[in-house]
């Protein structure tokens, strides 16, 4: 990653709709060069996507929760299949395999305590899930917006 790449990322992290022409002007480079670098950053996976950061409390979420999931691998539980199910569930925003205390970690946004319990029940009911534990986080805070969602 060179200086122009860093400038593109630095500009667009705060405003992903910034025009390439504006970035090019600020960097004293051509618009085509900026577009090419941006496309390469996407192709290389440095930029995973552009999105909108929403104020979750303004769209009805009171907080977030982390669900640690243990997979029943001995009886055929498949972590990848469980992850594919999780990623399609409403309100799940991050899913990852983990090495350590548990097999999968998933982060969810929650409307209220009943919703939190409902998501927990839905995760526990996924075939192959052996057990879950969870933690509730208060709302109104940003969770790594540069790398995640909220």
């Amino acid at each position: 990653m060179n200086e122009l790449d860093a400038r593109i990322i630095g500009s667009m992290v705060d405003n992903a709709r910034l025009s390439f022409r504006k970035i090019a002007g600020d960097a004293d480079r051509s618009t085509d060069t900026v577009i090419n670098h941006y496309n390469q950053l996407v192709a290389d996976g440095v930029i995973r996507c552009s999105t909108v950061a929403v104020a979750t409390e303004r769209i009805g979420y009171e907080g977030a929760a982390a669900f640690n999931i243990d997979v029943a691998t001995a009886s055929g539980g498949n972590p990848s299949a469980i992850m594919e199910t999780l990623i399609k569930m409403p309100n799940i925003i991050v899913v990852t395999k983990t090495v350590g205390e548990h097999d999968i970690l998933t982060l969810a946004v929650i409307h209220d305590i009943n919703h939190y319990a409902k998501i927990g029940r839905e995760i526990a009911a996924i075939p192959g899930v052996r057990s879950i534990s969870s933690n509730l986080w208060p709302g109104g805070q940003e969770i790594c917006p540069k790398y995640f969602i909220v």
Binding site: A16, R17, C49, S50, I87, N91, G100, N135, K146
Partner: protein, 161 residues
């Protein structure tokens, strides 16, 4: 008084489109909603003004930026030390996020470091805090999945009917 915003189908369409690609053209959104481009621009500005949209942004892969190790650090802490520990952790290099937590652990953090040694050092620093009783680390393996489109907007639309 509710803090929730009032949204309609056009607002929803804007949010849904931008969640998947923040650079979606206003004209493309306008076409799907059969409204003018000006309407979409005004609604987008209103969503920002009302605080629903904080900003448009990029989601980056920390590993592609040299932060090879991403981990969750889950802590049990002395009851009188939670605020102090959260503050301490938030100031450590490599910590992306730290929060109070209710449930199995008292404090929850996500960190990204260049090497496993750096992650171990971070964990040891946190473990060394007098109010921290235990730290459990879970390393994120493979590519983690992101799903920004999974936010539910429908309950807000229902409330408008």
């Amino acid at each position: 008084m509710t803090r929730e915003a009032a949204l309609d189908r056009v607002d929803e369409a804007i949010l849904r489109a931008l969640q998947l690609d923040a650079r979606t053209k206003y004209s493309d959104i306008a076409q799907t909603q059969d409204v003018s481009v000006d309407t979409i621009i005004k609604r987008f500005r209103k969503l920002k003004r009302n605080g629903v949209i904080k900003r448009t942004t990029l989601l980056l892969d920390p590993r592609r930026l040299g932060l090879e190790i991403v981990a969750t650090l889950a802590m049990t802490v002395e009851p009188n030390g939670i605020d102090e520990v959260v503050d301490y952790i938030q100031r450590r290099s490599g910590v992306l996020f730290a929060t109070h937590s209710v449930g199995q652990y008292d404090v929850f953090a996500v960190a990204a470091t260049r090497t496993m040694n750096e992650m171990n050092t971070l964990k040891e620093h946190i473990q060394g805090h007098g109010k921290v009783k235990d730290v459990k680390a879970s390393i994120w393996v493979d590519q983690f999945l992101l799903c920004p489109q999974n936010f539910e907007l429908e309950p807000l639309l229902e409330a408008q009917r």
